[in-house]
């Protein structure tokens, strides 16, 4: 009975490996400390460039020594550390999420400050000054007019501010923010979808990983997928097979570069932002097509052909429905399209006339099809085509398709919000908060939360993402010919009619006339009623959930 089984042996070996790692890293740290000491000693003796070099090297060695010792400590105390991490990881994660949301605010404030600085410096010297300013100029400004006491703090801040003058640096920061944001959106979306599905199906959804409601499930899945074997099929077209996930993912990511999160919160505010987004949405289909073709699998091929024909058909009503707000507002620039809806619920484009409301509905249906969401999820129809175009993908390449899908879901939700549903403005009239916009920082923050700001856009977009999930877990899938029928014979004529109707509306109905006001009021009340009805359903279901689900379910599923 004393022979250890294979499991014990594995644990034993792992212990052994950990001890060796601790010893190795400690030794490495000691060596680096030694090297650092020698170099530092040398640096004090030698002057000039050689001394500087030695000092730099000593600093490097010191850093490496610290890192090695830290690793050794981490391995040595990995168990209490793991316990601690399990406890604090969720707050850290949430802080990271919030920090990402606020990420672009900080640079935006800094950019503003730098630009103001540049202006003040040039006016102070009395002659026109070209950007960029030198570090010395900024430093002297900081020391002079800003009253920064310490000289080296001024140097540090000045060199950082100096960097921020350059567009490339700003873009790099923004792009990092976008990538992090998209990853978070995708991970959150996947976790949320599973929770929503679970609740709809009287299950709990993920509950284990991370403690609180399985919040780390997507993280764990991502790590698992990273470790998985990258299977390549011998019959597949190698370059295309490897390329396809990126071709699907990059357009979905690039969408966010022109998507305004608020008027000041946009990476590139293009004149033709809307057309750019439409083009990128259409480009995503290329990745799916490549994946299906290069997999050399008949099911994948069928899936990608479905995607192609579905996408190309639904582009047309989608485009027409987008033309309606463009026609009403008179711009293709997304920030302009958003800014006209600043004045509360009734100013939202969707409620301007019956035609814009219809266009909003058509747009939503079109985006369901273009994001391959149920009931239009034919390209990946599990029960018909195994998994459609990504049948043959595994590991992280497979995950990239999912990242692309969830990023696109959020992007089209945001697009619907910007074009039709009040963009980054709250339903409250802007006049109520006008005084706070120019007030001290806390008033401005409150204004950002209550009246306009990225939080509103993200919240409203997530609502549309939720609508997509709700539909997915309720409806069966339609057939290909029905998808085509719905597009060509129903949606397309409807979109054309809406477009024509909106044209006449724009021509004949004056913006402040009685008819326009009446239509606006009726549509707004209709929208408000739908919202209230949704809320009422939620409250009703929440209150009566035990009765609705049936007596036996509650007894068997304590958490349901």
């Amino acid at each position: 009975m004393s022979t250890p089984d294979s499991c014990d042996r594995r644990v034993f070996q792992a212990e052994d490996r950990a001890t060796r790692a601790v010893r190795g890293f400690t030794l490495l740290g000691a060596i680096f400390v030694l090297v650092c000491a020698i170099l530092a000693f040398g640096a004090t003796r030698v002057s000039g460039v050689a001394g500087l070099l030695a000092g730099l090297l000593a600093a490097g060695a010191g850093g490496l020594a610290g890192a090695s010792l830290l690793i050794a400590l981490a391995v040595r105390f990995r168990e209490p550390l793991g316990r601690l991490l399990a406890r604090v990881a969720f707050p850290i994660f949430m802080v990271a999420v919030v920090a990402t949301v606020f990420f672009a605010w900080v640079p935006a404030l800094l950019y503003e400050e730098v630009d103001r600085l540049a202006g003040s410096v040039s006016t102070a010297s009395g002659e026109p000054r070209q950007m960029p300013l030198g570090v010395a100029e900024i430093r002297s400004y900081l020391l002079g007019s800003c009253g920064v006491g310490s000289a080296w703090v001024a140097t540090l801040v000045a060199s950082l501010l100096w960097l921020l003058q350059f567009g490339l640096v700003r873009d790099l920061i923004t792009v990092t923010g976008i990538v992090v944001f998209v990853s978070l959106v995708a991970m959150f979306g996947i976790w949320w979808e599973r929770k929503v599905a679970g609740r709809i199906q009287s299950r709990l959804g993920p509950m284990r990983v991370g403690g609180w409601h399985g919040w780390a499930q997507s993280l764990a899945d991502g790590l698992k997928l990273l470790q998985k074997e990258d299977i390549f099929l011998s019959g597949a077209d190698r370059p295309l097979f490897y390329l396809a996930p990126y071709v699907a993912f990059v357009p979905a990511l690039s969408l966010f570069s022109v998507l305004p999160f608020s008027a000041a919160w946009v990476c590139r505010d293009l004149e033709i932002g809307l057309i750019f987004i439409l083009a990128l949405l259409a480009l995503g289909v290329l990745g799916v097509l490549l994946a299906g073709w290069s997999s050399n699998n008949k099911w994948s091929l069928l899936g990608s052909m479905r995607e192609a024909c579905q996408m190309i058909s639904y582009e047309i009503p989608l485009g027409f429905s987008l033309l309606v707000p463009v026609m009403s507002v008179g711009s293709l620039r997304l920030t302009t399209l958003g800014e006209v809806q600043a004045n509360g619920f009734t100013s939202w484009v969707a409620f301007a006339s019956p035609f814009t409301l219809a266009a909003a509905v058509i747009f939503f249906i079109g985006t369901l099809a273009s994001c391959k969401r149920a009931p239009f999820d034919l390209p990946e129809a599990e029960s018909e085509l195994v998994a459609g175009y990504h049948t043959e993908y595994s590991g992280f390449r497979w995950a990239l398709f999912f990242f692309a899908e969830y990023a696109e879901m959020f992007a089209v939700g945001a697009l619907a919000t910007i074009l039709f549903f009040g963009a980054w403005y709250s339903p409250l009239p802007a006049a109520w908060g006008a005084a706070w916009e120019r007030g001290p920082i806390w008033q401005r923050a409150l204004h950002g939360i209550l009246f306009s700001g990225p939080l509103w856009l993200i919240g409203k977009s997530l609502f549309f993402v939720y609508l997509q999930m709700w539909l997915r877990w309720t409806l069966p899938r339609v057939r290909l010919d029905q998808v085509m029928f719905a597009c060509v014979q129903v949606l397309l004529p409807l979109a054309l009619m809406v477009l024509a109707g909106n044209s006449f509306w724009q021509l004949w109905v004056l913006p402040q006339s009685g008819l326009a006001r009446l239509a606006n009021l009726v549509c707004a009340v209709l929208g408000a009623l739908v919202l209230v009805a949704m809320l009422a359903i939620i409250v009703y279901a929440r209150v009566n959930r035990r009765r609705l689900v049936g007596s036996l379910v509650v007894e068997h599923l304590p958490g349901a």
Binding site: A197, I200, Q201, S202, R203, K298, W299, L302, M305, R306, A374, P375, D377, L378, A381, E382, S383, E384, L385, V386, W473, T474, L475, P476, R477, V478, R479, L480, D481, Q482, G550, S551, L552, V553, H556
Partner: protein, 399 residues
């Protein structure tokens, strides 16, 4: 002239003069659907000849789950064969046990006590509900609706709990054997059953709201895979597939066995759309009818169960059966109404304890035979809808 294969799309590839536009014909593709495929319910393999999304022909290939059940039956005593019958239609093991036990009892002339008969009917009707729940759920899954699948399995779980309390097993019960059920019902079983029925019957209406009358679902299934009543009879279909075509035939009613003549229930059949809340697009014998017959049968089973609860007497459940059962030299063919159709057992005895021949008529096998007939000139998505509506269990097809 090439063979014209577009029966239901005759004008598709003909020009105004009726000439075949061979240039427009695209290349045909053979696709292997199964034996590993999410919507073939096990190990059915269909070879599809497709032209794009159009399936010109679907040829079923079977035999991946063949386990020589009949041969095993000729080498074991009937008692020992009971666990093998569990594995025929593994979603309705109680009904399989029941049918085989009835066949052997008829061969040997064994009389089962009253309470035992009621217990058997309770078990088989409960299992009918469980089996139809799986069928309902997986059919929704075939059509892309995930949630009904979970609902179906949630309700089935309570039935399995009941079975587990009675016999300890949740899938292969071997509970009903020759001479009656192996054990009497445990304490509280009938109360739990009553509670389950109270819970379950409103759920059926919920299913109808969620799935049966859903517009997309009706559009996907109505008019798809239509089997005429003549065809259904000619191909030997039984069970919901036959009744979906409008043929009012149910062994429990038409040739009542055991105590089924004591219960009041109806035989649900497929009816044309437009009447009685049935969607307009429905045609008798289509996939929707076959699906809906199952839903309606669950209601009828619940009705039978309620009557059982009222009528069940006290007393012994098992007949006195010798441990070694000598089978007389004659043969018996017995068919019972299983969830998927009529399951028949032919048992031939020769005076020894081991039968000379055991022949099994699996309803899934006969129902599947029509698949290649109706999976012609349909879309790929319809294959899942048709195969799902026939509702085969491969364990019974291959045996």
């Amino acid at each position: 002239m090439q063979e014209r294969v577009y029966h239901s799309y005759p004008d598709l590839l003909l020009d105004a003069e009726g000439e075949d536009l061979a240039d427009l014909r695209t290349e045909e593709m053979l696709i292997n659907m199964g034996p590993q495929h999410p919507s073939t319910h096990g190990v059915l393999r269909l070879v599809l000849r497709t032209d794009g999304e159009l399936v010109l022909e679907a040829v079923p290939h079977i035999g991946y789950l063949h386990r020589c059940a009949e041969k095993i039956g000729e080498n074991l005593a009937p008692y020992q064969f009971i666990p093998i019958t569990d594995r025929l239609d593994y979603l309705a093991a109680m009904n399989n046990n029941y049918a085989f036990s009835m066949a052997v009892e008829q061969l040997c002339g064994i009389e089962v006590p009253e309470r035992g008969r009621y217990v058997r009917v309770i078990m088989s009707e409960l299992n009918r509900i469980a089996s139809h729940l799986v069928s309902f759920g997986s059919y929704a899954l075939d059509l892309g609706a995930f949630t009904p699948f979970l609902y179906g399995f949630r309700e089935r779980e309570y039935i399995l709990d009941l079975f587990e309390s009675a016999c300890g097993a949740r899938l292969t019960y071997s509970y009903i054997t020759i001479g009656g059920p192996a054990l009497d019902l445990p304490e509280g079983f009938l109360e739990n059953l009553q509670q389950f029925l109270d819970y379950f019957e409103p759920k059926i209406d919920e299913y109808n709201q969620l799935l049966s009358y859903n517009h997309i679902f009706v559009r996907r299934t109505a008019g798809v895979g239509v089997i005429s009543p003549e065809d259904a009879i000619a191909w030997g279909l039984t069970g919901p597939c036959l009744r979906g075509s409008g043929v009012r035939w149910d062994l429990r009613k038409c040739m009542p066995y055991d105590i089924y003549d004591r219960f009041e229930f109806e035989i649900p059949v497929g009816v044309p759309g437009g009447s009685d809340g049935i969607p307009r697009a429905v045609v008798v014998g289509d996939s929707w009818c076959r699906y809906f017959v199952r839903i309606a049968e669950m209601k009828q089973s619940a009705r039978i169960l309620r009557q059982c609860l009222e009528q069940i007497p006290d007393g012994p459940v098992r007949a006195k059966v010798p441990r070694v059962l000598k089978l007389p030299s004659k043969e018996v063919y017995f068919e019972a109404e299983n969830p998927r159709g009529q399951l028949g057992f032919l048992v031939v005895g020769d005076g020894s304890p081991i039968p000379r021949r055991v022949k099994i008529r699996g309803p899934s096998f006969c129902n599947l035979s029509i698949a290649s007939q109706i999976c012609r000139n349909v879309l790929v998505a319809d294959i899942a809808a048709i195969i799902g509506s026939i509702d085969v269990v491969m364990g019974e097809v291959d045996r």
